[in-house]
């Protein structure tokens, strides 16, 4: 059995053409993560370019309004490029450069990972090509132009369902045709080993900071950490350093679209089953013959039929819980946090906020919830307006 297992999950289910390259990536990563010069360079970028550490903000109005647990927001939306994606991308693109690669490629759903990758590639002087489902290039047109401004080439993907999973397929195909000068910058804690590990390590800065910050502010650990989950990178990053703290509940919020009782959702843990896809063994939304199901969410970033293998393991071992949140609940939460705290968060993050609204009132006021605001919502404003039946011109 290959390396990179979380219980039965994970592995390296990829074509032979990519095996040497992925093993080389693992070797390089293992070397550089122990190299103080590399880590200093990355720390410097995170601090002086991306704006880390991100603040842990006490949402006092929201706390009072919900009348239960104290709510802290981990503000990943305030990072450069507007989401947590930059944490991973700076690490991976820097690694690509050290590996001697001159070109990076990436998939993107909502466009946040694509924008982050294009940004890091511009900064570090690498060529960049982004694969994005045609449906997503339409609903996130602004992000497409943003990537182009940053010097990236954006390929609309017209195969399959024309969304995130098809963008991953196409990026893998592209990588298999050109590995010598190119590294695939995967955006989530998914895909074949070592990607789930690398992305988790680079994103774990979220919980490393949040743990220190909450101990400083409150002198104790939180009772729950809540984050949205598509592939699961911001959740993995927000959970990771709390995993040994058994008393801290870890809650991932999946996109339930129109509801888990309908066909239109992307709730992988709630409705999926174990399978092998995109290089990993994990949970997937699939039919009775193992065909990957088309999934749906108002959020392009959560519109993915699988979940990272470490989440699958955290679910099975009951260390983390995964709950479905519908489009409607997410849109309500999107509006709620805007009005209550003056924060327009990403529709992805609004899934986590929606769950906090459900659980906070029944907790008592000496309990603490940390919720990861994974990104800012500027990109979603037009889509939310359309959802609410408001006709605006971008």
């Amino acid at each position: 059995m290959s390396k990179g297992r979380y219980g039965i999950y994970g592995g390296q289910y990829i074509p032979e053409t990519l095996m040497n390259e992925i093993q080389y990536l693992e070797e390089c990563y293992e070397t550089y993560k122990k190299d103080p010069a590399f880590m200093n360079e990355l720390d410097n970028l995170l601090k002086n370019y991306a704006g880390r550490p991100s603040i842990l903000y006490y949402a006092e109005k929201m706390t009072k309004d919900l009348g239960g647990a104290k709510i802290y927001l981990k503000r990943e939306d305030l990072n450069h490029t507007g989401s947590h994606k930059i944490n991973n991308v700076l690490g991976q693109v820097l690694l690509a450069k050290k590996m001697g690669k001159t070109r990076v490629i990436a998939e993107t759903g909502a466009g946040q990972h694509g924008v982050a990758t294009a940004t890091a590639a511009a900064l570090l002087g690498l060529e960049c090509e982004i694969f994005m489902g045609k449906e997503d290039t339409d609903r996130q047109a602004l992000n497409v132009y943003r990537m182009e401004l940053l010097g990236a080439k954006v390929h609309p993907v017209t195969s399959g369902t024309m969304t995130l999973k098809d963008a991953v397929n196409e990026t893998m195909r592209e990588w298999a045709s050109r590995v010598d000068d190119t590294l695939y910058i995967l955006g989530s804690v998914m895909g074949p080993h070592p990607f789930p590990m690398i992305v988790r390590d680079f994103q774990s800065v979220i919980s490393k900071e949040a743990r220190q910050q909450i101990l400083e502010y409150e002198g104790k650990l939180p009772d729950a950490v809540v984050a949205c989950v598509g592939g699961g990178s911001n959740a993995m990053g927000a959970f990771y350093n709390f995993i040994p703290d058994q008393e801290v509940r870890l809650i991932g919020c999946e996109a339930a679209g129109h509801g888990v009782h309908t066909q239109k959702h992307a709730a992988t843990i709630s409705k999926g089953s174990v399978g092998i896809f995109h290089g990993m063994k994990s949970y997937f939304c699939q039919d009775d013959y193992g065909q990957i199901s088309p999934v749906y969410s108002i959020s392009a970033g959560l519109d993915y039929p699988g979940i990272g293998p470490e989440h699958a393991y955290l679910h099975d071992t009951k260390r983390a819980e995964y709950v479905p949140v519908t489009d409607e609940e997410a849109v309500d939460a999107f509006e709620y946090i805007a009005r209550t705290e003056g924060i327009i968060c990403a529709i992805e993050s609004a899934h986590a906020i929606a769950h906090v609204r459900k659980i906070a009132p029944s907790m008592n006021n000496n309990q603490i919830i940390i919720v990861c605001v994974s990104g800012r919502g500027d990109k979603d404003v037009a889509a939310i307006a359309r959802y609410k039946g408001v006709d605006i011109v971008e």
């Binding site: 290959s2 032979e16 053409t17 040497n20 195969s159 397929n169 195909r173 298999a176 590995v179 990957i292």
Partner: protein, 270 residues
């Protein structure tokens, strides 16, 4: 010593895959099951056999075939859109087996096999007369999870070697069974004008390591390419070119497939 049923079968009749390489250079044809429908798949398999094919690879369509180019991706979509399932494909193979003894291998992705259940899948393979399985997203490091089950039901797990395999070639070749599928080019399946990989060096390493036959696939479409590539290996694998004929002629593709396979087989004989 007690012999299990399939051991006895192995003694009496060689696994059919070995027979595919007994009569000179082997021509291996691929098609996607259910494109345009399973009745036609059965007919096309028999046409290929009559035209001189030595082994048929039957593709089980998958929603997300990451190792395929446009031509086979589209065939997968066509096949799934008419309701092709693993069970229906097994029924079709069972019917084909009553008409021919040509070696048959299934080609698909890990998930349809995993989801069906390895035990149930390979038992069914044995029942209907499948001789081998090719799973492009199940590399050497992962194949152990199904190889033992496949072997118990007399199904050979075919390994792939890629232009990037380098030091992995020996390890893969030493542990190979059935035949070795040598991928001619980087990237995904599909017709190519030129094949630039140094196949001779790859074949040399394989031949130093094992006696298992080697077939080269990916990108081969013309008789000229077939002849050149055929000289280097024990056989050639042609997929996208055949699927393209099916895409163009649909239900009427039988005759065209026959003519094409005959021309290709002739080219490698010379």
């Amino acid at each position: 010593m007690l012999l299990r049923l399939h051991d006895i079968k192995e003694l009496i009749l060689l696994n059919r895959i070995e027979k595919a390489f007994e009569n000179g250079k082997s021509f291996i044809g691929f098609l996607t099951a259910g494109d345009p429908n399973l009745e036609k798949t059965e007919e096309f398999i028999l046409k290929m056999e009559r035209a001189g094919a030595d082994l048929i690879e039957i593709g089980i369509p998958f929603s997300d075939p990451v190792a395929e180019g446009d031509v086979i991706q589209e065939a997968n979509i066509r096949a799934l859109s008419v309701g092709t399932t693993v069970d229906k494909i097994f029924d079709m193979v069972k019917s084909v087996r009553t008409k021919t003894q040509i070696p048959l291998a299934l080609m698909t992705y890990a998930n349809p096999v995993f989801y069906y259940g390895y035990e149930k899948f390979f038992k069914k393979c044995e029942e209907v007369g499948i001789d081998g399985i090719i799973i492009p997203d199940m590399p050497y490091e992962e194949k152990d999870e199904l190889a033992e089950t496949a072997s118990r039901y007399g199904v050979k797990t075919i390994s792939l070697i890629a232009p990037t395999s380098e030091q992995r070639i020996r390890t893969i070749a030493e542990n190979a069974e059935g035949f070795l599928y040598v991928v001619s080019s980087m990237g995904v399946s599909g017709v190519r004008k030129e094949i630039n990989t140094d196949l001779k060096s790859i074949l040399k390493v394989i031949k130093e390591t094992t006696n298992i036959p080697c077939a080269i696939g990916f990108g081969i479409s013309t008789p000229q390419q077939a002849k050149e590539i055929g000289q280097m290996a024990d056989g050639i694998i042609v997929g996208s070119a055949i699927v393209k004929i099916i895409q163009e002629y649909k239900e009427e593709a039988g005759h065209q497939i026959y003519e094409y396979v005959r021309a290709m087989k002739d080219a490698i004989k010379k």
